[in-house]
């Protein structure tokens, strides 16, 4: 078994709301400096910078999970986490087909850069990424699961785009098995504030938009790094475990 410290919600310069410092080499260095061994790259409705961060982390002790922060039709933000780039590329195509054709207004939303592993400019993403996909939460859950991924409602405590604010409680028509809370909120406080989530295990992530946002408070005990192992850990199964560090 290995002990892993993880932050599963990290944006890059592809997300218009992320700072320009969120480039692959700086993300990798900051995570390593903080003793973090695992991060998920989760840009808004896009996966274009994941491979560059993986390349930047090559030869280090940091592993990168391919992910995306999807905004569903209901405006709920959910993390879609996968094992492989192939899986997320398939998912990317589904999401792209479900996005409205709105161009990014750089003045209002910020730049959306696709970069290489050194952080050098490759291209601008022209379509606005922070808007709702046409996929419902149920459709997204079913598709992500079918592809072998893990759908985790993001920052459920947040008023903006948080599941509990928008939908009131965790929907029963899909078997969501874990929820993410913000780094400012302790799990005990979350359960107290939202009694409707008492039966769900929690992940805590930084929702990292600037280097100073890293939380790294998820501690996993795993056999190896995979979605299945992470899932088993949050459910404390077969010797795997997860806890949120103070």
């Amino acid at each position: 078994m290995i002990r892993i410290r993880a932050d599963l919600h990290v944006h890059t310069v592809l997300s218009p709301c992320a700072e320009v410092e969120m480039i692959p080499p700086l993300i990798v260095r900051e995570a390593l400096d903080l003793g973090i061994n695992l991060i998920a790259i989760t840009d808004h409705n896009s996966s274009a910078n994941i491979e560059s961060v993986q390349k930047a982390a090559k030869g280090t002790t940091l592993s990168i999970i391919p992910g995306m922060e999807l905004q569903t039709r209901e405006e709920v933000h959910v993390l879609c986490l996968f094992d492989t780039l192939e899986q997320i590329k398939t998912w990317q195509k589904i999401v792209e087909a479900s996005m409205p054709d709105i161009l990014n207004d750089i003045e209002h939303f910020g730049e959306q850069f696709v970069v290489d592993e050194t952080g050098d400019f490759i291209r601008r993403e022209e379509r606005l990424l922070i808007t709702s996909s046409d996929l419902t939460l149920t459709e997204a859950y079913n598709k992500v699961t079918e592809l072998g991924g893990w759908l985790v409602p993001a920052h459920v405590n947040r008023k903006m785009n948080g599941l509990l604010s928008i939908l009131g409680f965790v929907p029963m028509d899909i078997p969501i098995d874990v929820l993410e809370i913000s780094r400012h909120l302790q799990p005990a406080e979350a359960y107290k504030k939202f009694p409707q989530i008492k039966n769900y295990p929690l992940l805590q992530d930084g929702d990292v938009h600037i280097l100073g946002d890293f939380a790294g408070t998820n501690e996993f005990i795993l056999n190896n790094i995979s979605i299945q192992e992470l899932r088993m850990a949050v459910h404390q199964q077969e010797g795997r475990s997860h806890r949120i560090l103070n």
Binding site: E74, T136, T138, I166, L167, G168, F169, P171
Partner: protein, 113 residues
């Protein structure tokens, strides 16, 4: 004013099973798309205007004993949401119009918050 008059005047489509709508009278109106706000703010027996078509609207409507839900902008609940509404006795109505004109017309008809 009863629900049948509202359905007729606003030209609403009834998504759930037909019943005697003329015997149902809304106490008041409420509008929001955030279900957390609806649960906290809507009065019992009110008519709720929203463009949110997610399955969870049925449970919220049942909790508040909402007289009817008007789903705006042509937003469509899926089949399981409609069948759940039928099971719970919740009336779901649909309109291609936006929430603002719908609320305005209800106000003109004399409905208040």
């Amino acid at each position: 004013m009863n629900l049948q008059q509202i359905i007729d005047q606003l030209e609403l489509t009834v998504l759930t099973e037909k019943k005697d709508f003329s015997s149902i009278e809304p106490t008041s109106g409420y509008t929001s798309d955030l279900l957390s706000c609806v649960m906290a703010g809507a009065a019992h027996g009110s008519i709720w205007i929203t463009l949110q078509a997610h399955n969870n609207i049925v449970a919220v409507a049942a909790l508040l004993e909402t007289c009817a839900v008007i789903i705006t902008e042509g937003s469509m609940p899926d089949a399981s949401t409609i069948s759940r509404a039928n099971k719970e006795g919740i009336v779901l109505l649909s309109t291609p119009q936006q929430s603002f004109p719908i609320v305005g017309k209800l106000w003109e008809m004399g409905l208040r918050a």
